[in-house]
C-alpha cells in the first residue's frame, strides 16, 4: 500500500536526516464502510524526535480516528504508518496513549495503575520489579507519596497525572494524547499544560496531542496541524517558534496572540471549506 512515488517526493523535499524521524505517515485514509463515511483522506505527516505536535480541528473531523490508527487500535483503509522505521500493524509497547478520561482502574492504587501495562505485557513479577521506576515517575509528575492512594481520593488533575505515568512507564517512542485535559477546569488545565511541557522536555518525548483549545495547542506545540472536516485531512501546518520553556505569561504576548489568531483563521477556513462540500 506504499505509494512509492509519493514517499520519494517527500523525502526529496525534506533534507533532514532520516533517523530524526519518529513517525512517518503517508497517504493514510480511513473509510467507515458501515456508514460510508470518509473519516480521513490522504493524510501525510512526519513527526520528528523530541517535538510536540498539536492537532486541532472541528469536532468529528477524524482527530480521534487518526490517533487510534496511529496507536494501532483500528486499521487504516489505506496508507502506511512507520514508527521508528517499522510499520504499525497493531498495538505496540513503544506507543503510549492517553484519553480525555483518566481511565484508571478504581480498585487499584496509583502505583498499581501505573504498573498495569507492565503487568499485562510481562506479568505481575515483572511489574513488581519495576515499582521503583513507577515510583520515580509518580515523583516526576508531582505525585510523590500518593502511590498507595486510590483513584476516588484523587482530583481530576491528579488522576490525569497518574495516567501520564502509566503512559510513560513502558518508555514509549511516541506519546498519543486525545484531548487529555479536556475534562479539567481552566486553571487546572493551564497548570497541567506547564507540567506536560516540563515532563516532555525532561523525557525528551515525541508527542502528538489532539485538542480543541487553540491556546493550549499553541502553548505546547512546535507545530500545530489544523484539520478540516469531511473528508478529514490536514489543511495547514502552523509552525510555533516561541522559545522554550514556555510560561503562562507568554500567553499574553503579541507573538502568542498572533499565532492563536493564525490558527483560528486556518480553522475557520477549514470549516468553511467543509461546509461547502
Amino acid at each position: 500500500m506504499i505509494e512509492s512515488t509519493d514517499s520519494v517526493d517527500r523525502a526529496g523535499q525534506q533534507p533532514r536526516p532520516v533517523n530524526d524521524e519518529v513517525v512517518r505517515i503517508t497517504g493514510l485514509s480511513k473509510t467507515f464502510h458501515k456508514r460510508g463515511l470518509n473519516a480521513l483522506d490522504d493524510v501525510d505527516m512526519t513527526l520528528r524526535h523530541g517535538t510536540f505536535t498539536s492537532v486541532i480541528g472541528p469536532s468529528g473531523c477524524g482527530k480521534s480516528t487518526l490517533l487510534k490508527i496511529m496507536a494501532g487500535l483500528i486499521p487504516a483503509s489505506s496508507g502506511e504508518i512507520l514508527l521508528n522505521g517499522v510499520e504499525v500493524t497493531g498495538p505496540r509497547q513503544d506507543i503510549g496513549i492517553m484519553f480525555q478520561q483518566p481511565t484508571l482502574l478504581p480498585w487499584r492504587t496509583s502505583l498499581e495503575n501505573v504498573l498495569l501495562p507492565i503487568e499485562i505485557r510481562s506479568g505481575s513479577a515483572a511489574a513488581q520489579e519495576r515499582s521503583a521506576d513507577a515510583l520515580q515517575l509518580l515523583e516526576l509528575v508531582g505525585l510523590g507519596g500518593f502511590d498507595q492512594v486510590r483513584p476516588f481520593e484523587l482530583s481530576g488533575g491528579m488522576a490525569q497525572r497518574v495516567a501520564i505515568c502509566r503512559m510513560l512507564v513502558t518508555g514509549p517512542a511516541i506519546l498519543l494524547l486525545d484531548e487529555p485535559f479536556g475534562a479539567l477546569d481552566e486553571l487546572t488545565r493551564e497548570y497541567m499544560n506547564v507540567e506536560l511541557q516540563r515532563i516532555c522536555r525532561e523525557r525528551d518525548a515525541t508527542s502528538f496531542m489532539v485538542t480543541h483549545a487553540i491556546p493550549e495547542a499553541v502553548f505546547l506545540a512546535d507545530q500545530v496541524f489544523v484539520m478540516s472536516a469531511r473528508p478529514g485531512r490536514i489543511a495547514t501546518i502552523v509552525d510555533v517558534d516561541l522559545p522554550r520553556p514556555r510560561t503562562l505569561d507568554m500567553m499574553t504576548t503579541p507573538e502568542f496572540g498572533a499565532l492563536v489568531r493564525r490558527v483560528r483563521h486556518e480553522l475557520n477556513m477549514g470549516i468553511g471549506e467543509g461546509g461547502e462540500e
Binding site: I97, T103, L105, I120
Partner: protein, 290 residues
C-alpha cells in the same frame, strides 16, 4: 436493574437539590430512629385496634399480644430442638443450596452470555423475556420432575434466584467503558486478561445487586416449593398452621422465614462492602459517616 432492599434501610441522606424542596419539614429535625420507632408503634397500635374491635374474627386475625406470645413459644420450641427447629433447619438448607447453585450457575452463565457475541445477541433477549414470566408458576412442574422431597424445593429456589444473577452478571460484563477497553487493547491485553483485570471487577457492583435479589428470591422459591406439600420445612408448617386456623403461628413462622432471608442478604451485603470498597456507593458511605 433489580430492586435493592438495602435502599429501604439505613440513614437516608438528602442531596442539596432535594433539600431545597423539603427543607424545614419537621421530619428532618427528628432523629431517624425516633421516626422509625414511632411509625412501628403506630402500626402495632392499628393492628391491635383492628384485632380488639374484632372487625374480623379473632381466630383469623390474632392481635399483637397473641402473636408475640406464639413467637415466644416458637422460639422456645426451636431452642429446645423441637419440630419447628427441624423445619427451620430444613428450609435453611433449601434456601442456602438454592442460593449457592443459583449464584454459581447464574454467575458462570452470565459471564458467558455477557462476554460472547452469540450470548449478547441471541441468548440475552430470551433471558430478559423469560425473566418477565411468573416463575413460581413452574413449581408444580418441578414437583413432577423431582418429587415431593427436598430436591424439588432446592430446584425451585435455584430456578427463581438464578435469573437476577445471570441477567445482572451479563449486564455487568458490559459495564467497562470504551476508553478503558481501548486502553487494554493498546496494552495488548489478551481476552482472558481483559476479563480478569477489567471486566469482572467492573461487573462486581452488578453481580452483587443480582446476588442480593437472589438471596431474597431463594427464600421465596423454597417456600413456594414447600407449599405444594411433601416436606417438613417452615413452608409446610405454615401451610398446616393456616389450614388448622393457627394464624398466630403462621405469623410467628413468617418471622423466622424473614430471619433466614435477612441473614443471607446481610451476608451478601457484607461481602459486597468488603470487595467493593472502591465503588461509588461505598465511597459516599465512607465520606458520609467519616
Amino acid at each position: 436493574m433489580t430492586f435493592k432492599p438495602e435502599e429501604l434501610a439505613g440513614p437516608v441522606e438528602m442531596s442539596d437539590a432535594e433539600a431545597l424542596w423539603y427543607s424545614g419539614k419537621w421530619i428532618d429535625r427528628v432523629p431517624q430512629w425516633v421516626s422509625v420507632t414511632v411509625l412501628g408503634l403506630a402500626m402495632l397500635g392499628i393492628w391491635w385496634l383492628i384485632a380488639e374491635l374484632e372487625f374480623v374474627s379473632r381466630i383469623l386475625l390474632p392481635g399483637p399480644a397473641e402473636t408475640f406470645e406464639e413467637l415466644w413459644d416458637t422460639t422456645k420450641n426451636i431452642v429446645s430442638g423441637g419440630h419447628i427447629a427441624e423445619g427451620l433447619w430444613i428450609t435453611t438448607q433449601e434456601v442456602v443450596w438454592g442460593f449457592l447453585l443459583a449464584a454459581f450457575a447464574g454467575f458462570v452463565l452470565g459471564v458467558v452470555v455477557g462476554e460472547t457475541r452469540l450470548g449478547k445477541r441471541a441468548v440475552m433477549p430470551y433471558l430478559v423475556s423469560f425473566n418477565a414470566l411468573p416463575k413460581v408458576a413452574f413449581a408444580p412442574v418441578f414437583v413432577a420432575w423431582f418429587g415431593f422431597g427436598v430436591n424439588s424445593k432446592i430446584v425451585m429456589a435455584t430456578f427463581i434466584a438464578f435469573f437476577p444473577v445471570i441477567v445482572d452478571t451479563a449486564a455487568g460484563m458490559l459495564a467497562a467503558d470504551d476508553d478503558t477497553l481501548m486502553l487494554f487493547k493498546s496494552m495488548e491485553s489478551s481476552r482472558w486478561q481483559t476479563l480478569r483485570k477489567l471486566k469482572l471487577p467492573s461487573a462486581l457492583p452488578f453481580i452483587f445487586a443480582g446476588l442480593k435479589t437472589a438471596a431474597v428470591f431463594s427464600v421465596v422459591g423454597a417456600v413456594v416449593g414447600e407449599y405444594l406439600g411433601g416436606g417438613h420445612g417452615l413452608g409446610e408448617l405454615i401451610r398446616f398452621s393456616a389450614q388448622t386456623l393457627r394464624i398466630d403461628r403462621v405469623f410467628a413462622l413468617i418471622v423466622y422465614l424473614g430471619v433466614i432471608g435477612l441473614l443471607l442478604f446481610g451476608l451478601v451485603a457484607w461481602a459486597e462492602r468488603k470487595l467493593l470498597f472502591w465503588h461509588k456507593s461505598e465511597i459516599f458511605e465512607i465520606q458520609g459517616t467519616g
